[in-house]
Every structure is written in structure tokens, then in C-alpha cells.
Symmetry: C2
Subunit: 313 residues, 2 copies
Amino acid sequence: MGEFELIRQVFEPVARLSRTPGLILGIGDDCAIQRIPEGHELVFSVDTLVEGVHFPRDYNPEYLATRALAVAVSDLAAMGADPVCYTLALTLPRADRPWLERFGRTLAHTSRAFGIALAGGDTTRGPLAVTIQVHGTVPVGQALMRGGAKPGDNVVVSGSLGDAAEALNWLDVEAGQKTNVLLDRYHRPQPRLQLGQYLRGRASAAIDISDGLAADLGHILEASGVGARLDLALLPLSAALAEVAGSNATRQALNGGDDYELCFTVPKSQWLEVQQSREETLTVIGEIVETPGLQLQNASGLECGEGGYDHFR
Amino acid sequence: MGEFELIRQVFEPVARLSRTPGLILGIGDDCAIQRIPEGHELVFSVDTLVEGVHFPRDYNPEYLATRALAVAVSDLAAMGADPVCYTLALTLPRADRPWLERFGRTLAHTSRAFGIALAGGDTTRGPLAVTIQVHGTVPVGQALMRGGAKPGDNVVVSGSLGDAAEALNWLDVEAGQKTNVLLDRYHRPQPRLQLGQYLRGRASAAIDISDGLAADLGHILEASGVGARLDLALLPLSAALAEVAGSNATRQALNGGDDYELCFTVPKSQWLEVQQSREETLTVIGEIVETPGLQLQNASGLECGEGGYDHFR
């Protein structure tokens, strides 16, 4: 069997199993076709993961399929979008049937879990890399963006922070129960799709935490022309992180990437309703202020200022 | 200046210079946003070019930018779509300012020439590769597809065939006037956007010739459940190819890739109008028949049959 036929045998089932109504034409023509419902617009984002840069060498194909799709879909969550479909540009050193079958099986499961259909792609020969472009829709004008945070808004994060970054220290180590919790956060991030959709019309700004809270909140502050004051004692830490990372836990939560939680701002008047409506953990970690930059308060209430922020980098 | 800032400085002007009305939000948030006009649908396609596989090592950045975008846009032409925007996932071994500036300048020009806007992207560290996903729109249900060819339809190609494939033999050779014509076909393919748009509602099937006429027409035949009889003497050869490739010219025209001309089928009743309406060279090279497979007639009118086809591979 030729390489082309192998690729087809692996990815056609993924496409068939992941179908969504918005995707009119999938794999098999020069282009795919997506229909956008009236009153909606298309939101889309592309992410590349390169072996040895964004994931370890000899990373298992199940984790790779899960992470690559989750990382991309997380951008849809950050916009409050409903997922529809995605393309996969896969560069492989060789057409390894068992590897491809494991990758494809997991991709099919993960696609169904996220409600997103494989629409097409391109497979080429070269060093291992995965580029995924995700497509979603939002009602016209309702996408969550980075530029709307206002002084007085609460700064909120979902879930717990720093777990995935700490996990990087444990990739090659005999893992225990606690580190397994952290590793799972790294290998199988959970994009906050439903939270993002709920936040449409409620949050004033939103972003997903891929590069670390300080960096990603920084993007909101810059786009909104505001600053923020955070209380480091409020950063949500998992029990596993607190135990494994010890005194380094807060630093991981502030600067560690790969969590794919949402960070968003919400007017105080809306906060109670948001908090009461949602089942996931949501934590107010500070508020938006007029003065640009990120001000950090430590546990004893002392200002660390931007200098403190830099020390944490 | 950081790498991030360099990338921003190179690609923001490309985005600014290439803007199109359909792109509502470009670079700078978690996702880009595209609005699809009422009564239209989105068509999209992704292509990866890897150094040493799809383009030569140390290929100049002007050619790379042009080819990568042209190859991707050609898929929009093959669907009869109006181009809107694209994403660029660029993997680079290092952030080389002069290289990036040359790449960006050419990308801006080429984007404007094709009427397509840079909407976003991802730049990562790794072996040189370019992944471009193009977005276009078509009126609902009017996209040109591969599956509609009917027995009796004319098989038509645009322009001349085989030039780009022959050029591959001259990449590293001191070029003359004739070979320069061929090299230009390889380095700067011209997607047939206007022809594709014109063919909506007129052609019964269409594809762009990236892998060679025999292979790509084969995709139409398979998708349509028909066959075709081609007259090899009718394949359109450029004067440059005839002179440079000699007795090998027909083989290059039949099996050589990288031309990015359109191959389409059209009912005989429509052909005269199509031919009279278009200014580009369009050549009838055969017709669709019921019997599956590709039948080839040589210059003396003898059937080469599918065997003949195989000999040419």
C-alpha cells in the first residue's frame, strides 16, 4: 500500500467520526466548504507544535494528538466561539503505520469530545510538526476580545495555574501520584469552551493562558490600555502543585505556561451572576486599574510592583 | 530587539497592506474574524511546503513567499472562489532579519496582487517550512468540484503544461533565455483565479494541476465515476518547453507537476461561449467517456491505453 493510501485510511475515519453540521464538504476536493449561519461570523486561529520545541522527542502520539488539538481549540474558547471544524497540516519523518493509527484514533476521540470536525489537511515529509487551524463561529460582534478591560473590572482565572509548567520538571522522572496529576494537566489540557461561550456579552476581555498568566494578562492590559493589581496570595494553586513545587508554586502559577485556563475581566456588577452560574472553579485574583502595567501584592500585602513582576520571570 | 518584536515588525505591514473587506479582525487577538456575505459559503485549503522537499535548500525568500502563496491560492481558483484572507504558519531555523524582510516584502506584494489579506499566523523555531491556509467565498452551492464530469464533456486545460517540471532540471544550471521562461513558471506560478470564478456554473468539474495532468485529471475521473480519452498531440506546449525538452516535452506536459493551470470539464454545448469569453489560452485536449480510466491517443491516432499512460509515468 502506498503512503497516500495509508494517510487516507488513517484520516478518513477521523473525518467521518467527527462530522459537524457546519462543515458542508470535507476531505477530498481542492478545498473544504463551511457554511456560517446567518448572523454569525467565522473565528479562526492556527498553531504549530514542533518536536523538541513544543513537545518532547519521542512524545507518544496519543498525547501529541490531544495536546495539538486542545491547544488550538483553546483559542476558540478564549473568543467564546462554538467550534466547527479544523485542518491538520502534519509533517512526518516517515509514514509509520502504528504511530499514525494511534495518532488518528486519539484525534478522532478528541475531536468528538470537543465537537469539532476534521475538514482537511496536508501531509508532508519532514521533521515532525503539527499545524492545526481551528474554525468556530460567534454571533456577529459578540466575540470575546482582549481590548475591552475597564478600570474596576475583576480579573478572574478558571481552574488552577502552574500545574502544566511544573509538570515539565517531571516528564522524564519516575512519577508519583501527585506528579501524575500535574503531568495530566500538561499532556491533556482541557480547553474551556463552555466557559468561553457563557462569557459572551458578560466578560469585558478574555485570553487563554498559554504563555503564563503574567504574559497573557499583559496582552489584555496592553490591548485595553489599562493596568492590573494582582494579589499573589489569591492565585489558585492545586494541592498537587503546592506539595510538589513548594515555595516555587506561586512563581509557576504566575509565569508558567501551557495551562490553557481562561483569564478574563468582568465588571464587578456582573461578577456575582457569573460566579453563581458556573460550576467550574473561578477565582478573582485582582482588579483592573488605570495605571498601565502589572502591580503585584505579596502575601503580606506589600507591593512588589513591576520590579517584583520582573523578578518572577 | 526580541525575536517576537522582529516578527511583528515584518508581518504587521504585510497585514496592513493586504487588507480586504471580509476580514473583520486580523493579527493581534486569540483568533481572527472573517465575515461571510449572506448567500455565500467559506471555502478553505491548507498547503505545507518543506525545505528540501517542496523547494530547494537556500531557496531565495522572494521565490518562497511567491510560490507558497500562489500554490495555496491556486486551490481557491480550482473551486471558483473569491479570495479573502490567509494564515501563515512559518517555521524558521533562526530569526534572520534580512531574510524575513525580503520574505515579508514579497509576501505583501503577492498578497495584494491576488487580493488576499494576511489574517494571522504562528511563527515557530524549527526546520524551514511554510504552511498557508487560504480562505475564499463562493455563492452557496456554486463551488467548482471534482465530481461533476459527464461523458461527452470536453476536457480543457488553461495555459501551457510541463514548463515548471522541466524547470526543475535547470535550477542549478547557468540559465539561458528559454530556460529562464521555464524557471519563471516554477518560481512564480500564476493561480487562475479569474478563470475559476468565470467557470462557476459553467464547468462541470475542475482541479488545479499541482501533481501533473494525468494524476490530477485522474482525481476528476475518480470523483466523477467516468473516464477520459486524451489526444497527446493536443497538449499545449510552450515554445520554450518544446525547444528545451525536445522529445521529452509531451511527457513533461502529461506528468509534470507544479504548473498550477486549471484542468476542467465543460459540456460541449457550453464550450463555444466559454472559449469566446476568455482571453487566456484554453485548449480542448480530449473528452470524458463512460469507461473509467485514462485513454491516451498518440500523434498518429493510435490508442496507447492505460498502458501507455503507465509508460509515461
